[in-house]
Amino acid sequence: MEESPLHAFELHELIPLVPAGIDISINKAVILMWVVVGLVAFLMISAAAARKLVPGKLQNLAELIVEFIRGIILDTMGEPGMKYFPLIATLFLFILFANLIGLIPGSYTVTSQIIVTAVFAVGMYGLSIVLGFSLHGVKFLGILVPPGTPGWLLPLMIPIELISQLARPISLAVRLFANMTAGHVILGVLFGLAISGGLLIGWLPFAFTIAMNGLEVGIAFIQAYIFTVLSCVYLGDAVTLHGHSEHAH
């Protein structure tokens, strides 16, 4: 059974839906998005419904996640950033669960679609730009001039900063997409080897598959975390405008 390791990323229309000339057909990725939404909503809402001062297992997990996201926001944006908590938390949970569910064999990794990560990246970056201009007006263009830049360097700095700004949504989108895709390609290749190797040698790539799967769980967490942190950093930059710590690219 020789097939392309990219086979796993192929989508097929399951239910064609084309209202008003726009193709919104249901495919596997869309169904997996629903699964993510349902699972996250169920987990978080049932955890929130418990509302006990001494939490049970589920509430404890939900509170751990909430506390974790709160930590990210407070670290990058400070107390005023808590206004964006619901958005950041939803983003983190959506990406995290999309990454994790994608690791279940037979399911689909929503975040391995470049367009999905691009929507998140452009959405968050766009929000930061909109927020920046609405909070600071024209002064927000000052984000292109790092504090302490001497005047004669401006012609050099502004294009560099402009490129760095434009690279933000692209790197954000590509980082998540590439990590998810690469992980699944490696898993696919290793599993293909395991199958074609047979019993004699196939156990070796199969063992690697298991190890890689464990690694992928970690990567699922890390990439969701990175995406969230960077979104927070961009939002924080826009809200405070050279207010506090320099951001990392």
Binding site: E10, I45, A48, E63
Partner: protein, 170 residues
């Protein structure tokens, strides 16, 4: 790569935004307020508990100091009481001793006086009896009676001599 097939872009974008929107709405409305509230409540509770514990601790410390002070006072009081009792006992003992000495002196003096008195009486008795005896002897010897006055004079002379010899012997 299949991910770059733009055929699916429109449906993915649409469903992603819709899914994200639905999830955001659900969590915003039903999950986050309760969870964040819970965390804050717990934080507050822990802070309150710590504050209370701190309060209790300082109160306990204060009470301990109070008790220590009381204990010190009590110890001082007890010592004072003991000293007082000792002094009293000493005084009583001295008084008793003095009184006993005085009593003993008195009893001794009384006894001495009594003995002296008895001795004098005895001497008196002996003297008068001796006189009578001597007279009787003298009457027998002389054969004639002397006057009472003579008797007395003679007897006294004899007795004086006698007592002189007696005293010189003693």
């Amino acid at each position: 790569m299949p991910q770059f097939e733009s055929h699916f872009f429109s449906s993915l974008i649409f469903w992603e935004i819709l899914s994200f929107g639905v999830l955001f709405f659900l969590l915003y409305k039903y999950a986050f307020p309760s969870l964040l509230g819970m965390l804050e409540e717990r934080e507050k509770k822990i802070k309150d508990s710590l504050d209370q514990a701190e309060r209790h601790r300082s109160e306990a410390e204060r009470k301990l100091r109070e008790y220590e002070a009381k204990l010190a006072t009590a110890a001082k009081d007890a010592e004072a009481l003991l000293t007082q009792a000792k002094e009293r006992a000493q005084r009583l003992m001295e008084e008793n001793e003095q009184r006993m000495t005085v009593d003993a002196e008195r009893i001794k003096g009384d006894a001495t006086r009594e003995i002296e008195h008895e001795r004098r009486k005895a001497v008196q008795d002996i003297r008068s009896q001796t006189t009578d005896l001597a007279l009787m002897v003298a009457e027998k010897v002389v054969g004639r009676a002397l006057t009472e006055a003579d008797h007395r004079r003679l007897a006294d002379e004899a007795l004086d001599a006698l007592s002189k010899t007696y005293q010189s012997r003693n």
